[in-house]
């Protein structure tokens, strides 16, 4: 009996995984899309056309749908409407509509991320200095930091009374009103994505074979020509990959804009959230559908492009690194001066927000040292000035949901990894299954779950309802399991397939050989995947914020948003910074685990 069960364990696991995905992802999300293209059971394009022909959404481009004959002129007008003057940054240009603005801010964010990330890649790949390895691994950190926590950091750093203005005041400048501007949103996006650029380009730069450059030099190329002709072509693919990813991420951005920009800088995702809150669900469904089509298209582009990048196994030596500080004279070298200036920018953009948040969390209103905010987090008060969002349940919920996500996402991710390694069909299927959750916004997932499982769904005359907390865990597991697969699959693929053959010829079933041989050997991948899954669950905001409202089981990120959203608290961000610091601690803990076991972090 046990043997039989073992024999079917892997197929059974796959069937279970796919079923779970259908129930908690495809069905709810499909339900949202169905709302966009049907009304009372009849197919209709009205909701989608309503959005596309509304100048609010598509700006001047709405002519494409209302007046197809005027299309070329309309498109040109649409592009001309994008002003690149600094004054144009202040407000969402209504002439390009919500979609245009969303793409516009994503493009700006991509440019900023590349501008901020490229010097980092240059520094990390070409210079040797103490702490280089640490900084290189720290480039993973932003990825696991919850967006809303980063927003708290930015509020603490760039707020009217923030560290940034304090420093400016010392040198007699300022104050600068940075909050609720497009600039701060773009900088916050760069906080997330510049490290991505740095990491991808550094990897590419480090894998340039020194001998290729030496060959070019020996053939008469100047250092610059050798760089342009040999190095740059090898860096471009990684730069393009990073840019495309950054654009996708920032196109679907949510918590950063919600907290730092507000509705006047709303992107599609933020507006979608606002529609749901106003219970304009059909419009929300149409918006979500169009957004998903766009992001699926971009994701498809990314995957196509990435698949074309042939991994060239390189055995040659890397380019030699220069000492960053090499005697007193090197300090006057213009390149090193530029690096020093870059270091200052890094301090302001990356270290500043996190440091400000931690400092703020232990600083009282009068500037004195205090643990008051942390005491508040642990207090069992029933209500407070902050309203009904109590901190302790948020912390407990976050941790419980994190564990629940692990329990669900770990086996799911491992099963998909096993199938992906089996053959070409398996890996293609797994790729598709993995990419779908990446391309669908958390708001759409949350909305779908709310409308189906949480409010109840009728199946074979039985009304099935799922408790809110489990719906949150489902949503988190869907977001998290691809990271388990991404970490486990390559490790499994790297194992000698004959190890499994050997185990099976000795009498082990496929499942037993997975348990006895493969999983122990890829333990570090499993641990890294688990750490990612936990971090993603703890930091997940997009779907949780919707589900939490419906079921009153909020998490730390949701509580954070409520704290910073409540202006009645005055200028002090105390409670938010304290909770943000806790969140930073938890996610940084996951990061340490990931770094130790060498996790793969790319989505």
């Amino acid at each position: 009996m046990r043997e039989r069960a073992e024999r079917f364990a892997v197929p059974l696991g796959l069937v279970t995984t796919v079923s779970v995905l259908i129930v908690v992802f495809y069905y709810p999300v499909g339900n949202v899309f169905a709302d966009a293209v049907s009304s009372d059971g009849r197919p209709t394009l009205a909701p989608i056309l309503d959005v596309l022909t509304d100048p609010f959404y598509t700006g001047i481009a709405h002519h494409i749908f209302t007046d197809p004959l005027g299309v070329p002129a309309g498109i040109i007008q649409w592009f001309l409407a994008v002003e690149l003057s600094p004054s144009g940054l202040d407000l969402p240009p209504t002439s390009i509509g919500l979609f245009g603005f969303t793409a516009y801010q994503a493009a700006l964010s991509t440019v900023a991320s590349v501008a901020l990330g490229l010097p980092g890649a240059y520094l990390l790949s070409r210079y040797e200095f103490p702490g280089r390895h640490t900084i290189r691994s720290l480039t993973i950190l932003p990825f696991v930091l919850p967006g809303i926590m980063v927003a708290v950091g930015f509020l603490a750093m760039f707020g009217r009374n923030g560290l940034f203005n304090d420093v400016l005041a010392v040198v007699g400048l300022g104050p600068v009103e940075a909050l609720f501007t497009l600039e701060i949103v773009v900088v916050a996006h760069a906080f997330y994505n510049a490290p991505l650029v740095t990491r991808l380009v550094t990897t590419a730069w480090e894998s340039v074979d020194r001998r290729q450059v030496e060959t070019a030099r020996s053939m008469g190329a100047t250092p610059f020509r050798a760089f342009r002709d040999v190095v740059v072509p090898q860096l471009l693919p990684s730069l393009l990959t990073a840019s495309l990813l950054t654009f996708v991420f920032t196109f679907m951005t949510f918590p950063i804009v919600l907290a730092l920009g507000g509705l006047q800088l709303a992107t599609v995702e933020v507006w979608l959230y606002a529609r749901v809150q106003n219970l304009e669900l059909t419009e929300a469904a149409a918006l979500g559908t169009i957004e998903t089509v766009i992001s699926l298209g971009l994701t498809y582009l990314y995957l196509r492009y990435e698949a074309r990048q042939v991994a060239t196994g390189r055995a040659g030596p890397s380019l030699a690194r220069r000492q960053l500080v090499d005697g007193v004279r090197s300090l006057r070298d213009p390149r090193r001066l530029a690096i020093a200036a870059y270091g200052v920018v890094v301090l302001v953009v990356f270290v500043g927000p996190l440091l400000s948040m931690v400092v703020e969390s232990v600083t009282g209103p009068g500037g004195e040292f205090t643990f008051e905010y942390y005491r508040f987090l642990l207090a069992q008060q029933t209500s407070s000035a902050i309203g009904t969002t109590r901190p302790l349940p948020a912390i407990v919920n976050s941790l419980l949901f994190g564990v629940g996500t692990l329990v669900l996402a770990l086996p799911m991710g491992i099963v998909v990894a096993v199938v992906a390694n089996r053959d070409v069909t398996g890996s293609r299927g797994a790729e598709a299954v993995l990419s779908a959750p990446l391309a669908v916004s958390g708001i759409v997932v949350g909305l779908g779950l709310l409308q189906t499982l949480v409010f109840g769904t009728v199946l074979f005359d039985y009304r099935i309802t799922v408790l809110g907390p489990s719906a949150i865990v489902f949503a988190h597991a869907v977001a998290a399991y691809p990271f388990v697969t991404r970490n486990v699959a390559p490790a499994l693929g790297g194992l000698d397939p004959r190890l499994v053959d050997a185990a099976r010829s000795l009498g082990a079933s496929r499942f037993r050989s997975l348990l006895d041989v493969e999983l122990p050997l890829v333990a570090s991948g499993v641990v890294a995947g688990a750490a990612f899954a936990f971090a993603i669950s703890v930091g997940e905001f997009d779907s949780t914020v919707l589900l939490a409202e419906g079921v009153d089981s909020y998490t730390m990120p949701v509580a954070l948003e409520r704290y910073i959203g409540n202006r009645s608290l005055g200028p002090s961000l105390g409670a938010a910074t304290a909770m943000g610091t806790v969140l930073l601690g938890v996610t940084a803990g996951s990061f340490v685990v990931i770094d130790r076991v060498g996790g793969r972090w790319q989505p």
């Binding site: 024999r7 004959r498 053959d501 010829s505 000795l506 009498g507 082990a508 041989v517």
Partner: protein, 354 residues
């Protein structure tokens, strides 16, 4: 339909396709109980696929696989009771030597009613590795790892031992020593063994019978002597050992003779050839001599290699290169007469010309 006999392993009409590519085509092999049977061929010829079909790692598109008289075609590897040793040993790196050897005993009871512990000790003793049980595989030399892989495969008492190029990762001396050990262990256990190698010399040295595989098909099955002395095809003649292979037109059938380079060369009386036919002939370098034999031909000596126990002499017979192997110390220079006996010339292929 397969006639299931009592053979140790029997493949009947087995074909294996990978997508559009046919890896094995209608292969039938019978391996007797206790026999050491070797599949030899160039890489990609299908010999490993054959082994994997026996082990259950590949499922035949057509045909049946029987082990010990029992049809096992559809069975997964874990239900076949075979022991497999791989080229790279495939020892479990997270288990020590004892745990590796004991792994199969988690699923099958040790034969002979002994405890698992005793069985592991027995096997470590057998491969001369007693006392190294607590080591990790990474702490062992290649030869030691191979012994452990063998002990692990044998521990559950399999019906059949399958060896996939087990020695090819080792250096020449060690390989030669280990193959003697392997043969001794195989004979002492009297276990049916299928051995895969690309090394024809190894195949000849170690086997009871050899099957030469090419392009997914069996070219010839026979004892090492048969394979070496009477190659059934041009491929076998060229693949196994040094050989001289050339084309010739049949001059007459009674007595059988061919003409090569305007010279008439008699064939063995038993050779069946018909006039007008073109044939492929082979003759071993050691069957050609500078001493007088039946047939004389004129050749030019081009190069001489000293091998220690013999010389390889590269000659030219007309336009054709011809290799002579001799222990003769005095190698003639330039143009000379070389000799052979007609029965040493084998017909290994034929084609009809118009």
């Amino acid at each position: 339909m397969a006639t299931v006999t009592d053979a140790g392993v029997e493949l009947d009409g087995v074909s294996v396709d990978f997508g559009d590519v046919s890896a094995l085509n209608d292969v039938s092999i019978t391996v007797e109980h206790g026999e050491f049977f070797t599949l030899v061929g160039p890489s990609g010829c299908g010999k490993t696929t054959t082994l994997r079909a026996i082990a259950g790692f590949e499922s035949p598109t057509e045909g049946t696989v029987a082990i010990d008289g029992e049809d096992v075609t559809g069975r997964p590897p874990e239900d076949r009771n075979v022991g497999v040793v791989f080229q790279n040993y495939a020892l479990f790196p997270h288990m020590n030597v004892r745990e590796n050897v004991a792994y199969g005993l988690r699923f099958r009871d040790p034969p002979g009613g002994v405890s698992r512990r005793e069985r592991v000790d027995e096997l470590l003793e057998l491969v001369d590795m007693a006392g190294l049980g607590e080591r990790d595989p990474t702490e062992l030399s290649g030869g030691q790892q191979q012994r452990i892989a063998l002990a692990r495969a044998l521990a559950p008492g399999p019906e059949v031992l399958l060896l996939d190029e087990p020695l090819s990762a080792l250096d020449v001396r060690l390989r030669e020593r280990l193959r003697v050990t392997l043969r001794e262990i195989q004979q002492s256990l009297d276990i049916t063994t299928v051995y895969v190698t690309h090394d024809q010399e190894e195949a000849l040295a170690i086997s009871d019978r050899v099957a030469v595989v090419a392009d997914g098909e069996i070219e010839q099955v026979g004892s090492p002597e048969q394979i070496y002395r009477s190659p059934a095809s041009r491929f076998v003649a060229e693949f196994v050992g040094d050989n001289n292979v050339f084309e010739a037109a049949v001059d007459g059938s009674d007595p059988p003779r061919v003409s090569i380079d305007d010279q008439t060369v008699p064939l063995a009386a038993a050779s069946k050839v018909t006039p007008g036919e073109r044939v492929t002939l082979s003759i071993r370098p050691e069957d050609i001599s500078f001493d007088e034999r039946d047939v004389a031909i004129t050749a030019t000596v081009e190069q001489v290699e000293f091998l220690g126990d013999a010389y390889r002499v590269h000659c030219e017979w007309g336009e054709m290169p011809i290799l002579v192997k001799t222990t003769h110390d005095e190698i003639p220079r330039e143009t000379t007469t070389i000799w052979f006996d007609a029965p040493d010339v084998h017909v290994v292929g034929r084609s009809v010309t118009e």
